[in-house]
């Protein structure tokens, strides 16, 4: 099978131009994805540094390392960075690299919009950090509850930067969701019916739908906050008919699905890694798919569990207790299916597998403390304490970050052509695993013993000293582990063992390409007849002929059964997504300072968007020469 054979004509067609202008005009999905992954991991590191300072401050009672004003900025920036600039975007970034490869496509849908989404994301994150460095960064929490975050109690621009960051990151996320759904539904290679799609592709499909329903809620909420702060609206002002809890409903209607946006893609990582390192398909494919879909639906019915301490009606709270507990069932089903797969498999304990296996320890604990939090009675004690800090880190780090690191170890050879060091990998893993548990387990106890969240210090006589010291030591160990990961990446880029197309002996289509893949991914797209085309005999049933090599031509297929439908011409590289993103940034940042920026910013942003769309004569000519009418 010649899927990774050399095809210089194809390579030239799908390459981005060289030079600085070329770099700004790049739209190849892999190029954008690498930038996106590096940027999100940069934000992860920044968020981690902020966390280390927090832990240094809390290591001792009544510590004077940082004062309350800076501390409040620290945890606001830490939460905002991790939730908006790392956890969801990194999943979308990894997906935009892998999904086209896994479905056998030469490209992604709407590649210029994909580039635009990256630039918007980058500029938003830069805006936030520039504000932070200039000491005008946000300080009212990543969740920004009014009235504290409103005009009266957060004067100045700090929370305006926060609210506008939401606009940026949610715009980026929404565009990526549209891109992924269109790619997954319309660009699968022939033969890849929906039930032959890799489980990771299913998780990205479901996540993308969730994004489209959840993110609008926070965009509306943050827009209303900006207008309350800048032009005097009263959405959250009880004195004029507004309601403080309106914010909480809107924010958490987004916020709860948000954590599932973070959690569901790694479920896909788990399935990919476990299948390969257990040498067999995941048991229970239909259950796995239905479980993810059920989780997605249920995720939208939980949000009030973040508001149990408010005076929303008690009967309503009981509904949310039941729903919050019930969502454990589809996750439990998935965990049991994976354990069954491990049971019936033959196991290879390479570093990606170690990271995946740690999920069963860490996420299970996090899920169980989640069930504790689902109970209104228990929640009223541990809400807003370090117990919740422990819970959220157990589910997000255990459920998302560890599988993500496993994913990086697993797919690094595909991205770069070289394997990461196993030795460093094992050190990396164990330091992270031990450091994480030492850091976060004591927090459960601290919370139960009365330590609230978001406190810059605590009295020495409360009995929390040892717990906090141990947490801080654990955090340092975790940090060293993460540092080892960075070192492993840097060292392996140059000196890692050369990987070849399929170093792990895996079964899905991304491993049929070269490592790294050629610009056009597949020299010859294939027709598949199995969920694991590289494993099943006859899994690749044939090749697709007739797709042009000298143009960026892709095959568009039907939604359910991937029957070929038409050929679409993908656009040439273009600088207009970048320029438009700059113009939109001027609009967004300007409107923090004056509402008129909405007007002249829109005027500024419209021309580049039009030029972006406007067809080029030469390209149109060439398309017309080959046009086949429907």
């Amino acid at each position: 099978m010649s899927a990774d054979a050399n095809n210089p004509v194809l390579d030239r067609s799908w390459s981005d131009p060289p030079g600085l202008i070329g770099w700004l005009s790049a739209i190849n999905h892999k190029t954008i994805s690498i930038r996106f992954m590096l940027t999100t991991m940069g934000f992860f590191a920044a968020g981690g540094v902020l966390a280390m300072i927090i832990r240094l401050q809390l290591a001792r009672p009544e510590n004077k390392l940082v004062g309350p004003d800076f501390y409040n900025q620290l945890f606001t920036m830490h939460g905002t960075t991790m939730m908006f600039l790392f956890a969801v975007p990194v999943m979308q970034a990894v997906a935009t690299y892998l999904v086209p490869l896994m479905i056998g496509s030469r490209g992604i849908a709407f590649p210029r919009m994909n580039a635009f989404a990256y630039w918007i994301f980058l500029f938003g994150g830069l805006m936030l950090y520039i504000a932070f460095i200039l000491d005008i960064g946000p300080d009212a929490g990543w969740f920004a509850y009014p009235p504290l975050a409103g005009p009266e109690y957060s004067p100045g621009k700090r929370m305006d930067f926060w609210a506008q960051l939401i606009t940026y990151t949610e715009l980026s996320g929404l565009l990526e969701a549209v891109i992924l759904i269109t790619t997954i539904f319309k660009m699968r290679t022939p033969g890849m019916t929906l039930n032959r799609m890799p489980l990771f592709v299913w998780t990205m499909l479901v996540t993308s739908f969730m994004v489209m329903f959840a993110m609008p809620s926070v965009m509306l909420a943050s827009t209303a906050l900006i207008t309350d702060r800048l032009v005097g609206t009263h959405f959250y002002n009880p004195a004029e008919g507004g309601d403080v809890l309106l914010w909480q409903h809107l924010f958490w209607f987004f916020g709860h699905p948000e954590v599932y946006l973070i959690f569901i893609p790694p479920l896909g990582f788990m399935s990919s890694i476990i299948a390969t390192f257990a040498r067999r398909p995941i048991y229970g494919y239909p259950v796995m798919v239905l479980a993810v879909i059920a989780t997605a639906f249920l995720a939208f019915s939980l949000w009030v569990h973040h508001m149990f301490a408010t005076n929303v009606p008690e009967l309503g709270k009981s509904f949310f207790t039941a729903a919050s507990a019930m969502i454990a069932i589809p996750t439990a089903a998935q965990i049991f299916c994976w354990i069954a797969t491990l049971w019936a498999g033959r196991l290879n304990f390479r570093t990606p597998m170690l990271f995946a296996l740690s999920f069963f320890f860490i996420l299970t604990i996090g899920g169980l403390t989640g069930i504790m939090l689902a109970s209104v009675s228990l929640d009223l004690q541990v809400h807003d304490t370090f117990f919740v800090v422990a819970h959220l880190h157990y589910v997000l780090i255990g459920g998302a970050v560890f599988p993500l690191f496993g994913a990086f170890y697993y797919w690094f050879p595909k991205f770069t052509g070289r394997l990461m060091s196993e030795r460093l990998g094992k050190w990396n893993f164990w330091l992270m695993f031990v450091g994480f548990n030492v850091a976060f387990f004591p927090m459960h106890i601290a919370g139960l013993r009365g330590m609230p969240r978001r406190v810059y210090t605590y009295p020495a006589e409360m009995g929390w000293n040892l717990l906090n010291l141990v947490s801080s030591i654990g955090a340092a160990i975790l940090a060293v582990g993460i540092l080892l990961f960075v070192i492993n990446v840097l060292v392996s880029r140059r000196r890692g063992e050369v990987a070849g197309a399929d170093p792990w002996g895996a079964g899905t289509l991304e491993w049929a390409t070269a490592s790294p893949p050629a610009p056009g991914n597949f020299a010859q797209p294939v027709v598949v007849a199995s969920r694991f085309p590289l494993w099943s005999p006859g899994g690749v049933a044939g090749v697709v002929r007739g797709l042009a090599d000298d143009r960026r031509e892709v095959l568009v297929t039907s939604v359910l059964d991937a029957v070929p439908n038409h050929r679409a011409m993908m656009p040439e590289s273009s600088i207009w997504p970048f320029v438009s993103a700059v113009a939109v940034t001027v609009l967004f940042v300007g409107s923090i300072f004056t509402p008129w920026a909405v007007v002249w910013g829109a005027v500024l942003a419209t021309p580049p968007l039009i030029v972006w769309f406007w067809p080029k004569r030469k390209a149109t000519q060439m398309n017309l020469e080959r046009e086949v009418k429907p």
Partner: protein, 202 residues
């Protein structure tokens, strides 16, 4: 898992069309995605309206909006669906001349409803900064107006393109999908109109 429905042989796609209309086109999916997102925004804003209403003793706090301009605009928007549908049909039949003129007709309607929209704002009888009722009514109207503006700009760009070129089959798909977006802008107006103008009178 061998599925014998798919033949175990090569496929040649060289004679497949290079563009299609309707739900097989990627542009359709992109437009649908946008409509789903914006529809969700509208739906949530309407929920906010009723939420704030449920928390207040008197609603609306100010006199309800005058019915004239809003109802007039509703009629204009509904009427605009005619040139819109005809532009869509012309595009799907790849009739460049007809598409041109129907798009211009759409633009004429767009100009009309944008002008009337300005009057609608002044006839709301409340300010965005007066109270929460004013804030949510202005937000609803402003959100919809944003879509009117972007739809107008899209339609104008396509209209110019139909005159100047360069044109290929895919451009007619763009015109067809733009018509679908226009339907969304009109369709989403109806519940918003109901909420702003009649919700205040319930």
């Amino acid at each position: 898992m061998n599925d014998t429905r798919i033949p175990s042989q090569d496929i040649n796609v060289a004679r497949l069309p290079t563009y299609v209309f309707g739900s097989h086109s990627m542009m359709w999916w992109g437009t649908m995605g946008l409509m789903l997102i914006e529809g969700t925004v509208f739906a949530i804003t309407v929920v906010v309206y009723f939420y704030l209403r449920s928390h207040s003793q008197t609603w609306p706090v100010d006199p309800p909006p005058d019915l004239l301009w809003g109802s007039l605009n509703t009629l204009i928007l509904l009427a605009s669906m005619v040139p819109n549908q005809l532009a869509k049909r012309a595009a799907e039949r790849e009739r460049r001349q007809h598409a041109r003129w129907w798009l211009l007709a759409c633009l004429a309607f767009a100009l009309a409803f944008l002008i009337v929209r300005v009057f609608e704002f002044s006839a709301l009888n409340t300010r965005w900064d007066a109270n929460a009722y004013g804030s949510v009514v202005w937000m609803l109207l402003a959100l919809h107006t944003t879509h009117l503006i972007t739809d107008t700009i899209d339609t104008a760009v396509l209209a110019v393109l139909m005159f100047t070129g360069p044109l290929e089959g895919k451009r007619f798909v763009d015109v067809s999908e733009n018509a679908m977006y226009w339907y969304f802008v009109v369709g989403s107006w109806l519940p918003i109109y109901a909420v702003i103008y009649w919700g205040a009178r319930l």
